[in-house]
């Protein structure tokens, strides 16, 4: 296959993946619409509802596979062949791919079916955002990107991004679930105050004892009722972050500086991308500490996780539109010459203006 064919294949694949993600989302929405009226302790394993749930997961698997073909095509279309991490479009579809992949890998282990519509919706939105606003034709890498560190640095950053994103979704659900549990508890208190039915725990009468969960006193139907209780959500969220944080540390504080030292002569130069990666790191460090601090665990920790994921995605996409001094200038779109040339261009005037001060390299 020629490079052009690969590029066309990649473009078609990402489009197909988008459509299949959309169908998966529809299947999950049908599933959850049907589950809405069924009490949460009953989980249908046969029939249409269960079929739509399985269909949703199956479609997500297919979409993720096609998504991978899109990434492969980007890499094969470049001359010479390379990892598909040369510009924002490629970073974003790679990030979305890893979110989806990680979700599928962990689906069985953590029983993540409740996360399905949110993850699929997010992946669909992220990859379509990339297609519509960030698209760039396949181009050779800029000089600074020719390095084995491209693979190591970017793959670890993207994996951590995927884990943090799933953790963020879980934390958002934690906050919703906590609110719903709190409201249910308030309602039960009102109810218990009148008839002394001996239901001190607030468990509705007649609920099979086997399905009782610790602390799970929320409403019995609806989406949130099927989301695991806050303790489980907190634990899953912690697991995701505990996985993401060391990987992020490796990406941002080890491979990033090593590469920066080789390419830009300074292992840490407070480049905006570096600053925001550092901010993300500090926020997640705060999250991990908050989880073990009295008065901070639970709600505040979940809020910190959301702040973390916000800084993460802001750094991923947003900072490119706010800062023009970043050396991570592959992000600035087609009109920019690329890292090395941008550096050269910037060096000149800086020397001209202030011969005695630091260069802008």
């Amino acid at each position: 296959m020629t490079d052009t064919q690969w590029e066309n294949l990649s473009n078609q694949a990402i489009f197909v993946a988008g459509v299949v993600y959309f169908l998966a989302l529809l299947a999950h929405l049908v599933e959850w619409a049907a589950l809405r009226k069924i009490p949460s302790y009953e989980t249908p394993t046969t029939g249409r509802t269960a079929m739509f749930g399985r269909l949703g997961v199956l479609l997500t698997v297919i979409a993720t596979g096609v998504h991978f073909v899109a990434l492969l095509g980007r890499g094969m279309a470049a001359d010479p062949n390379r990892v598909p991490w040369g510009n924002m479009y490629e970073f974003t579809i790679s990030g979305a791919f890893f979110v989806s992949l990680l979700y599928l890998v962990l689906h069985r282990r953590f029983q993540l079916s409740w996360m399905a519509p949110l993850v699929v919706g997010f992946v669909l939105a992220a990859s379509m955002t990339a297609v519509i606003w960030l698209y760039d034709p396949v181009a050779p890498l800029t000089e600074a990107l020719y390095s084995p560190w491209l693979v190591i640095h970017v793959v670890s950053a993207i994996i951590a991004t995927g884990a943090f994103t799933l953790g963020g979704i879980t934390s958002a659900l934690f906050l919703l679930k906590a609110r719903s549990e709190r409201r249910a508890a308030e309602r039960v208190e009102e109810r218990v105050a009148v008839p002394a039915g001996g239901v001190a725990t607030g468990e509705p009468l007649g609920r099979p004892a086997a399905t009782q969960e610790a602390g799970g006193s929320g409403p019995r139907t609806g989406y949130l009722a099927r989301v695991p209780d806050t303790a489980t959500l907190d634990r899953i969220s912690y697991r995701m972050h505990a996985f993401g944080f060391p990987v992020w540390t490796f990406a941002v504080l080890i491979t990033g500086p090593i590469w920066a030292h080789e390419a830009w002569s300074s292992y840490w130069s407070w480049d905006p991308k570096e600053v925001w990666a550092f901010i993300t790191w500090v926020v997640y460090a705060a999250y991990l500490h908050a989880r073990t601090t009295a008065g901070w665990r639970g709600r505040n920790a979940a809020i910190l996780a959301l702040v973390g994921v916000a800084t993460l995605w802001f750094n991923f996409i947003g900072i490119n539109f706010f800062s023009t001094t970043s050396q991570h200038s592959y992000a600035q779109g087609v009109e920019d010459g690329g890292a090395v040339q941008a550096a050269v261009v910037a060096v000149g005037p800086a020397v001209a203006g202030q011969p005695a001060s630091g260069s802008s390299s």
Partner: protein, 551 residues
């Protein structure tokens, strides 16, 4: 910066002492302040402050990172600039308030890990704690009955738990069971996951190491840049740098006495594809000596492949054109000759430069203008005039305006070699008063009006921009951050657990049974103890039975 661990009282008391005002002595006040500072809540707030304080540096242009952007910003925001200046917003990462946050954080960290290290040291040598009186009150527990004697069960429990790498303690017998009791209180206590706290401490200590490494780099190191014309050389001396940023404790005698020549420069221009017009595969061929008189070596300097000499690294970070321009003055003497560095202003390498022929007589001659590596011209009203179509030097042309008179070279204060001071000079025009401009291709020589002399564009040469930095402590920082990662993995993935097994004889005679209680406590808040207990129970129950069968 420590995990608040309720199972280890006295580690880091989060609760401030409740005292009425006026009761604090100086010493107590100090103690109270210390406790506040080293409390986890303060550390959390400081962490968030640090994140917040780092934000402005990514929004406001920083003096150290992009001096030009910073000065442009200052000019376009005349009201805000002085305020920002006072707040240090052009130099966020060196301001006292930023330093205050991370220094407080470090103090908090030290105040936390020192006592914790002591606690950990004692915990390491301590035996697993005795079993709680009532194991079934723990959240995770399981009970079963068996015919085996308590001794057999407990011996098997010790074996199973040791096999699962627990540290095991066995009850001494009837201390708790009361005098005369034949059964006594028989239990096995086990603990594992000691490495978690070790990882935790290692992580926090490593942060200090990283900080030390980082500080070494910024205090004792330097960073400088120089532009070297291809074919010429450079020796490592402060006076030869175009820009030089030393650390505050840097001393010149630490500079390594190396020297190098740029013998050749390769570049490949892309002429098709989406990246057409870009260049790649920059290679700067160097010959260098590490010290005067030392052996001469060769190195191909490329992006991502710096040359390391001792503690110093040499980087190729840019390139451009240097037209060789010769100015002869009115007397026919050469007033200026040599490659003149033109600085690129965009991706097509349209470049700007000046020539200051201050020795020219009768009047000083100044030239300023642009170089177009591949000259193009778009005429007409909508036209952009002269431009460079391509970065490679396919059809180079310099277009210069000419100035005469005082170029301000004798004025006090330094003057940039890339800017022509035209305040006291006069622009040279044609005799009819229209603009005079030199448009020269290589080899062209043009006579200036008024008998000022001649200007010749002999040929086009290239320059490389070389960045040189000496960063002591970078290996310290790398080691620190690697150890931190190691510690982090320990502190996040090692699961400290305690497991207790108690066996009690109930009934008497033939009905006598042994009740076995197993309970577990997860001390990290992320593990699934029931699964672990189930495995422990299965281990205790099944294997001895099969052993008996074998026997």
């Amino acid at each position: 910066m420590s995990d608040h661990d309720p199972a280890r009282p006295g580690t880091t008391p989060d609760d401030e002492p409740t005292r009425r005002p006026g009761e604090l002595g100086v010493r107590e006040l100090g103690r109270w302040t210390w406790r506040q500072l080293t409390s986890m809540r303060t550390a959390l707030v400081l962490l968030l402050l640090l994140a917040l304080a780092a934000v402005p540096g990514s929004v406001v242009p920083q003096e150290d990172i992009d001096a030009l952007k910073a000065s442009q910003w200052r000019e376009s925001h005349p009201t805000l600039a002085p305020i920002y200046e006072k707040l240090g917003l052009f130099n966020v990462y060196e301001t006292p308030w930023f330093a205050a946050i991370y220094l407080l954080l470090m103090v908090s960290l030290v105040g936390c890990i020192i006592p914790r290290t002591g606690v950990y040291w004692r915990a390491l040598r301590a035996r697993p704690p005795r079993a709680p009186r009532n194991l079934t009150r723990l959240a995770d527990h399981t009970t079963y009955e068996t015919d085996q004697a308590p001794d057999v069960v407990l011996a098997r429990a010790v074996e199973v738990l040791r096999g699962r790498r627990y540290r095991v303690e066995v009850s001494t017998g009837s201390t708790d069971g009361g005098a005369g009791s034949t059964d006594g209180d028989r239990w096995v206590s086990a603990e594992r996951g000691y490495l978690r706290e070790a990882g935790n401490l290692l992580f926090h200590l490593s942060i200090l190491v990283v900080l030390v490494g980082f500080a070494m780099g910024s205090l004792f190191g330097y960073k400088g840049g120089t532009i070297v014309v291809v074919g010429k050389g450079f020796s490592n001396n402060v006076t030869l740098y175009d820009d030089f940023v030393p650390g505050s404790l840097f001393r010149q005698e630490w500079m390594e006495p190396f020297a190098f020549d740029v013998t050749d420069f390769d570049i490949e221009w892309l002429t098709d594809g989406p990246a057409a017009g870009q260049a790649r595969k920059f290679v700067s061929h160097l010959t260098y000596t590490e010290e005067p008189g030392g052996p001469e070596r060769e190195y191909d300097l490329r992006v991502n492949h710096p040359l390391t000499i001792g503690d110093t690294d040499v980087f190729l970070i840019g390139h451009g054109y240097a037209p060789v321009i010769t100015v002869r003055d009115g007397n026919g003497d050469v007033a200026w000759t040599g490659p003149t560095i033109f600085l690129p202003t965009d991706g097509t390498f349209r470049s700007f430069g000046v020539v200051k022929a201050s020795d020219a007589r009768p009047e000083q001659i100044g030239l300023q203008g642009e170089l177009y590596p591949t000259f193009g011209f778009q005429a007409g009203e909508d036209g952009i005039g002269p431009y460079s179509a391509f970065g490679d030097a396919l059809d180079p042309l310099v277009s210069l305006t000419v100035w005469k008179g005082d170029l301000g070279m004798d004025d006090p204060g330094s003057q940039s070699v890339y800017v022509l001071d035209t305040s006291k000079a006069e622009q040279v025009t044609k005799e009819d008063g229209s603009m005079f401009r030199l448009d020269l291709r290589p080899g062209d020589q043009v006579e200036l009006p008024d008998g000022l002399g001649t200007v010749e564009f002999e040929r086009l040469e290239r320059w490389n921009r070389i960045q040189i930095s000496q960063t002591p402590g970078k290996l310290v920082a790398l080691t620190g951050v690697s150890l931190a990662l190691l510690g982090l993995i320990g502190s996040l993935y090692v699961r400290p657990r305690r497991v207790w097994v108690r066996a009690r004889r109930t009934g008497s005679g033939d009905d006598a049974r042994t009740v076995v209680e197993i309970a577990g406590l997860d001390r990290s808040g992320g593990g699934d103890v029931p699964a672990e207990l189930a495995e422990v129970q299965a281990g205790i129950m099944e294997t001895p039975a099969s052993k008996e069968q074998d026997a």
